[in-house]
């Protein structure tokens, strides 16, 4: 069972002891490791009890006294007796009460578990806490929901090297925890999640139980108070296949249970989506964006004028039912008519880009009847996965931009923060780069800055936080890193990590993350359990869903 609290040593007097950090010497035969929680129970001179809670962020051993390097060889051949000092550095996380005096050398130090552990990390003060992982020793770690649902903060930023940092897995785990723990309470049912599947097909199996989950992972879920199973209410969208007339989802490993998605021409016009077809346009953007805005405006007018349920557009009596027709119409006469004063060079630039976008997104914007039934709908289920991994970069931009813009506009129209919406987006550095401008960057910045009050929380992931728009990263309440590149770890974006944590971030194994959150003054290394939902075809064994696990919590 849970190990008991144990006195492992005393506060050292040979190194400075301070209110916020001190060293302890570890008794012979005892063990203290990184991330252990250490508690000192002492008194101030006037007799007030004073408790220091802290986390071990460094452990060292060395020969005591004036040892020579070569002593180690004599010790190894058993000719030299030595005394070994085993010391641990403790970063104080909490003082109760807040009396900032240094702990007295010689004060006994204990490594704690369970209740005292929870207290050391302020979990006792969190009214609504979301489990976000386990320590290496199996203690559950929580985040304060108030910093994720917009009450006091929102957004999570997850950084790490591709492949080993398990960023999207962690983002998905966070969502799972939010929806399946008791933190959200009654709000859980109506809360929504929009997940963009940027790479691979990992996220296309969220609705399927993982057949490879082992007993120790089950135990981890149990410790976190979470059920073991897939997401409960999921719809998966993949872009419509290019070059075929019937609407079919363009996926690899999974074809069943995936819906194709497109936009109707009418939606394209109505929602001002043309700008997202032009995301590569960084040069001479002032002039070009003028044309884009103007054309968008005229298209919106056209949409307004046509009948409400028509998926196509009717421009000056001409029925436009494919994106190609729209492009050609604009190219021929419409452009000169709608923006007569634009310089011919700029008009040409517009045309060039228009044809370019036709190539990439032409198949996603259609005017036929079938199209109106296959637009992305995130209202009727809890989790909506939008696959974009097969799309070219320009088309990915379009999809992400168009969907996020509509999501924000929906929320604005509703005017309330509830129900909450969580957005998971990987490769944020592509969508909201630090340098350069793109319409998507504006949308994401809008979510980062206003999402909190609108109830939209962005779980953004990126290889390098240093390449993401500063305000997007700065607004994230929960900062998470997986394995980091050593050079990246030294950048200012990771100053929230302590020196030791930065070094550790460079050697993190998949499944381990370092998480910093506003209320806890030190970043914590945690592990999250193996996904209970499938992440690839081989893990998706539909028949093997264990009903007991899925529904056990509902019966409680």
């Amino acid at each position: 069972m849970e190990p008991a609290n144990e006195v492992v040593g005393v506060v050292l007097g040979s190194r400075d002891s301070a209110p916020l950090d001190y060293w302890i010497g570890v008794e012979e035969g005892k063990m203290v490791q990184l991330d252990d929680l250490v508690v000192l129970e002492t008194e101030t001179p006037d007799g007030t009890p004073l408790t220091y809670y802290g986390i071990v962020d460094q452990v060292t051993k060395r020969f005591e006294g004036n040892a020579f390097d070569t002593d180690a060889f004599h010790v190894a051949d058993h000719s030299l007796p030595v005394e070994v000092s085993y010391a641990a550095h403790v970063q104080v996380t909490r003082l109760d009460p807040e009396v900032f005096v240094p702990p007295h050398p010689g004060t006994p130090a204990q490594v704690v578990h369970g209740e005292a552990y929870q207290k050391a990390l302020y979990f006792d003060r969190m009214d609504r806490k979301v489990p976000i992982g386990l320590t290496r020793t199996g203690e559950p770690i929580y985040a304060n929901l108030e910093f994720l649902d917009g009450t006091r903060g929102a957004h999570a930023s997850i950084s790490g090297v591709s492949g080993v940092a398990t960023k999207t897995s962690y983002a998905t785990f966070l969502l799972y925890s939010l929806f399946h723990s008791e933190a959200l309470g009654a709000d859980a049912i109506n809360s929504k999640a929009l997940i963009f599947n940027v790479k691979g097909e990992d996220l296309l199996w969220l609705d399927t139980a993982n057949s490879r989950i082992e007993d120790d992972a089950r135990l981890q879920y149990q410790k976190l108070g979470l059920p073991v199973g897939p997401f409960q209410s999921v719809r998966i969208y993949a872009p419509a296949k290019k070059g075929v007339n019937t609407l079919m989802p363009d996926t690899g490993g999974r074809a069943i249970g995936v819906q194709p998605y497109v936009w109707t021409l009418r939606q394209f016009a109505e929602q001002h989506l043309l700008r997202f077809a032009f995301v590569g346009a960084e040069d001479d953007r002032a002039q070009l964006s003028f044309i884009v805005t103007r054309v968008e405006h005229r298209l919106a007018e056209v949409a307004k004028a046509s009948k409400p349920h028509e998926p196509f557009l009717t421009i000056d009596g001409t029925r436009v039912s494919t994106f190609r027709e729209l492009v050609e119409l604009l190219d021929n006469a419409l452009l000169a008519q709608w923006v007569p004063h634009a310089a011919p060079g700029t008009q040409d630039a517009f045309r060039r880009r228009l044809y370019h976008s036709l190539e990439h997104i032409g198949h996603l914007i259609r005017g036929d009847e079938a199209a109106s039934k296959h637009t992305v709908d995130w209202e009727s289920q809890q989790v909506t996965v939008i696959d974009i991994h097969n799309l070219r970069a320009a088309a990915q931009m379009f999809v992400v931009g168009a969907i996020l813009k509509r999501a924000m506009e929906d929320k604005e129209r509703k005017g309330t923060a509830k129900p909450l919406m969580f957005v998971v987006l990987d490769e944020l550095n592509k969508y909201a780069p630090r340098t350069g401008w793109s319409p998507i960057r504006e949308v994401i910045l809008d979510i980062a800055e206003r999402g909190r009050s609108l109830g939209v929380s962005l779980f953004g992931a990126q290889q390098t936080a240093s390449e993401v728009e500063r305000r997007v990263v700065a607004n994230a309440a929960l900062r998470v890193v997986g394995r980091l590149d050593a050079a990246e770890a030294e950048r200012d974006e990771y100053r929230f990590l302590s020196g030791v944590a930065r070094v550790r971030a460079t050697v993190l194994q998949p499944g381990s993350m370092i998480v910093a959150q506003p209320e806890i003054p030190t970043p914590i290394l945690l592990r999250f359990p193996f996904p209970a939902w499938a992440t690839r075809a081989s893990e998706a064994n539909r028949g093997a869903v264990d009903e007991r696990d899925l529904f056990s919590r509902m019966q409680d």
Partner: protein, 339 residues
Amino acid sequence: MALNQRRNGSPPFGVFGKLKVRLDPWQPEFGPEFGGIEEQSPESPESLDIELERSAQLWSGIDPGGRAGPREPVWFIDGVRRMEARVTAKFNDQYFYGAFGAFAVGSVQLNSEQALFERFLTGRMLALSSPEQPTGEIAVARGLIYLPIRVADTEPDAPIRAIHGEMRRAEEALARELAAHEGRLVVVDGPLTFEERMRGSAVGYIKRVIKTYLPPPQLALLAALKPGQRTPLFALRGSRRFARISWFLRLSEPRKGDSEFSGIVRLEVAEAVGVEGARSLADACGALLPELKARRALDQRAPQNLLPISALERFLRRKLGDERIIRRRLESFLVREAD
């Protein structure tokens, strides 16, 4: 406690009673440790028998009896002592010498698994040559308690010798205790101080060769010993100490410019052990000790100050506490007592 009693209006006597104990202003030898005390009583006539193992004509260097393989456990015993404050005591208008001093004695065990500090004990005392003595322990500070010991001699250095003697007695007690186990080899730093046969064996390890004992022809052999070699056994018999069997062992080659006798140590066992017993101990020591020699660059007393012994000395000195702090404690204590 003494201080509290005074404040409460108790009689104006401190722990020293009628003695007036004052710091001696002149403390030339105050330092980390006082200088070496002559181990050998200089002119004790001792008879020498060099034909114990082989005849004088056949004296030559003897290689250690090959005993490779796993190391048998061996114990080393050493002690350190220091004077912490020199004092004078006035009694009936007469002045006497005294010293606050401390010693620490400990052992190291080497075996095939590890080398470890095994035991240690410390002692603190006020050695006074005055006829009147403090009656109880002298608590200078918490954890800093001195026991009074009477010194018979009134020479200025008598208190120091007394402290040294206490240390030697503690070393001897520890050596007896350790050597009381069957088959143990205990190497005691310095000349052997006890003679009785024990279940184990105690060997005196004399690192500073002051007296060479041997007559000139055999002395030449001593200079020519190769590292690891020893001289044949010889017996030392005298009136002041018990009879011992002794031999010289070379730990290392002298460096250029060194005396020919550098790197040589002398070992001794009680003669009661017998020649055969002494020979097997000499073999054991010959196989072991050169392996443990100190490196010249790291230790001024190399090579004789063996690694476990110098480590033990450092360890014991640390156990005595910080001498500057203790000195200050003593000073303020004596000032309080002088009030």
